[in-house]
Symmetry: C2
C-alpha cells in the first residue's frame, strides 16, 4: 500500500528477523519456525512486498529477457503473424519467469551490431530470430559467439542450431493434393525468388505432390517473383493468356497476397473463381475468409511456434538439453469457396 519501494529490509524489520532470512524463506531455501513463517508472510502481505527484479537479476548475473526483433512490413502489407506470435511468446515466457524484449530492427551491418550490443550490455539471455533466410548473418554471429538463440525458420542445412519451423512443403503438398483430388491436372504455382528459403520449401511440396501423382511439372507453370499483389496478378494474367488447352485450371500461391492478386486477375478475365479457376493461398490471413469468394488457404500454427521457440530457448539458456533441437510443425489446409 505504501507508495515508496518496499524492500527485504522493510519486511525483515517488521517480522523481526534478518533480511537474508526473509529472502531464504520466500525462496523456500530454509526451514523456520511456523510462527516466524507467519510473521514474515504477514509482513509481506501488509507491506505488499514484491522482490525487486533488477536487483535479483543483478545478483543472478543475467536478465531473464529474451530478445526479439521483427522486420516491420511496408505500409500496405500485413503482419498478421506478429500478434499471435508475440502474444504466445510473451505468455509462455512469463509462465517460466522470463520477459520478451522487443528491440528495433536494423538493416545491414548495423543489425548484427545491435545483437552484439544487447549481449554485451547483458540486456538479454537469448534471442528468438524471425525472418530467417539462407546465410543469415545473425545466425553466423550467434553461433560464433556461442550465445543461446532459437530461429523461427530454417537456414543453411550445414549449420547446426536450434530451430522451430512450419513444414511449408507439407502445407503446399496438402493443398496441391487436394487440387489433384478435385480433378485438376494443370496446376500452376506462384512462387518466390530462389533465394527464399521459405519459398523453396513451400515450392518443394508442390513438386512432390505433382510427382507423386505422376503429373509433369512444366516450367511454364512455375512462376517466381516477389510475393505481392501486383506480382501475383501479373503472373496470373500471364497464365490465363496461355492457349486454352494449356491454361491452368488451378493456381497455388505461396502467400495470400499473391492469391488475392490472382483473384483480381481472374476477375479481370471474367472467370468465376472456384469454378473456372481454383485458387489456394498460404498463410490464412484473417481477411481470407471475408474475400469474395472466401479464399482457401494453408493455416500455420503460429501460436504454437511462438510457444515452442520460447520453450526451446529457455532450455538452452538454462543449460538444459532440450528434448528436441528442431521442431517442425504441421500447417493445415482450410478449404473455402475459392477452390
Amino acid at each position: 500500500m505504501t507508495a515508496t519501494k518496499v524492500t527485504l529490509k522493510d519486511v525483515a524489520a517488521r517480522a523481526g528477523v534478518s533480511y537474508q532470512t526473509v529472502s531464504k524463506v520466500l525462496n523456500g531455501e530454509m526451514q523456520v519456525a511456523p510462527e516466524t513463517m507467519e510473521r514474515i508472510q504477514a509482513a509481506v502481505q501488509e507491506l505488499g512486498y514484491r522482490p525487486n527484479r533488477i536487483a535479483r537479476n543483478m545478483r543472478a548475473g543475467r536478465s531473464f529477457m529474451i530478445g526479439y526483433s521483427w522486420t516491420q512490413t511496408e505500409p500496405g502489407q500485413v503482419n498478421h503473424i506478429l500478434d499471435q506470435f508475440l502474444s504466445s511468446m510473451v505468455r509462455e515466457a512469463s509462465a517460466v519467469g522470463y520477459y520478451v524484449l522487443p528491440f528495433p530492427f536494423h538493416e545491414g551491418k548495423a543489425q548484427v551490431e545491435t545483437y552484439r550490443d544487447l549481449i554485451k550490455s547483458g540486456n538479454v539471455d537469448g534471442f528468438v530470430l524471425s525472418s530467417v533466410n539462407y546465410h543469415d548473418p545473425r545466425i553466423q554471429f550467434l553461433l560464433k559467439q556461442q550465445f543461446p538463440f532459437v530461429a523461427f525458420g530454417r537456414s543453411n542445412p550445414e549449420w547446426d542450431f536450434a530451430w522451430v519451423d512450419i513444414d511449408g512443403a507439407a502445407g503446399t503438398r496438402q493443398a496441391v493434393e487436394y487440387l489433384i483430388g478435385r480433378g485438376h491436372r494443370r496446376i500452376a504455382i506462384l512462387a518466390w525468388p530462389e533465394d527464399s528459403r521459405v519459398g523453396n520449401d513451400r515450392l518443394q511440396g508442390y513438386l512432390d505432390a505433382m510427382q507423386a501423382a505422376q503429373l509433369a511439372t512444366e516450367s511454364s507453370y512455375i512462376l517466381r517473383g516477389e510475393g505481392t499483389f501486383e506480382v501475383g496478378r501479373a503472373m496470373t494474367l500471364h497464365l490465363l493468356d496461355l492457349p486454352a488447352d494449356r491454361r491452368p485450371t488451378a493456381i497455388m500461391a505461396l502467400n495470400d497476397t499473391m492469391a488475392i492478386g490472382a483473384m483480381a486477375a481472374a476477375r479481370e478475365r471474367g472467370l468465376t473463381i472456384g469454378t473456372d479457376l481454383a485458387i489456394i493461398g498460404f498463410d490464412d490471413a484473417p481477411m481470407a475468409q471475408y474475400l469474395f469468394p472466401p479464399l482457401s488457404s494453408v493455416r500455420q500454427p503460429i501460436a504454437e511456434a511462438g510457444r515452442k521457440c520460447v520453450e526451446l530457448l529457455v532450455a538452452l539458456v538454462e543449460g538444459r538439453e532440450p528434448e528436441q533441437r528442431h521442431v517442425l510443425l504441421q500447417p493445415s489446409l482450410i478449404i473455402r469457396a475459392s477452390s
Copy 2:
C-alpha cells in the same frame, strides 16, 4: 571479443586508472588528461566494453522500461495495428534510452494486479495503455497510485490524465462529408454499442456531418452492434430491405470488418458496390486496397500515435512537464472504388 563479461574494472585495469574514473569519463562527467582519455577509449574498444544495463538500472533505482500490453484478437480478427504501433514505440523508446516491455494481457481483476506487480517489482517506469474505454480500471488504479502512464485513447472526461488519441469523429465526419458531396442523402452508419467510447466518438462525426448538411439523422439509419463481419452483413441486409425510397445509398462503417460484411450483403442483393451503394470503412486495414472493389477507408496515423505515447510517457517519467498532455491526431480519408 572476449566471451566473458567485460566490466568497468577490466577497462580500468587496462587503462591504468580507477574504475570509477572510467565510469565518469564515459559519462562525460569528468575532465581527464587527453592521454588518459585515449587510454580509456582504447581499452573500451579493445575489450568491447558495454555498460551493464542491469547494474546501471540498479544504481539508478529504475528500469528504463515501458510496460505495454494489448488484447489479443480472436482468431479470424486482425490486429494490423500492433505491428506499426509497437514498432514505432520500440524505435522511439530506444532513441531515448528506453525499452518496451510487453506483458501478458489478463482479463478481469487479474489485470490490475498485473499492473500492480510490475510496479512493485520495479519492472517498469511507466505504462502505455491500449484498448482504453470508459471507466477503465487500469486508469483508475494508476491515477490512485500516481504512477506514470499514457493512454492511447480517451476515457471518462472527468479524469485527468495524459492521452494520445486519434480524432475518430473527424475521420467519420470527413468520410460522410465526402459522401454528401457526392450527392448522397440517405447515408446509414454501422456503429458500435453505446458502451464503446471509440464508437461513440466516431459516430459523433457522422451526426455532425449530417447536421451540418441539414440532413435528418434518422434512427433507422443508425445501427449498433459488435464490429464483426457477420453483424455488418446482417445490418446491411436489413438496410437494403427497406422500401426503395428509404433505402440508403451510402453506408459508413466504423471499421473495415463491418464494411466488408456490408460489401458481402450488397453483393448478395446484386448491387454494384460504388455505383448502387457506396461503402466506406474505417481503419484502412492493409487488405482494404485489395478487396473487390477496393474499399475506401479512414486511415489512422498509428505510428505517429506510438511515437507520441512514448514521448509523452518519458517526459512524465522523468518529471519533465510535457508540452501537451493531450494529443489528438488527425486521420485521413482514403478514397477507393467502393465509394
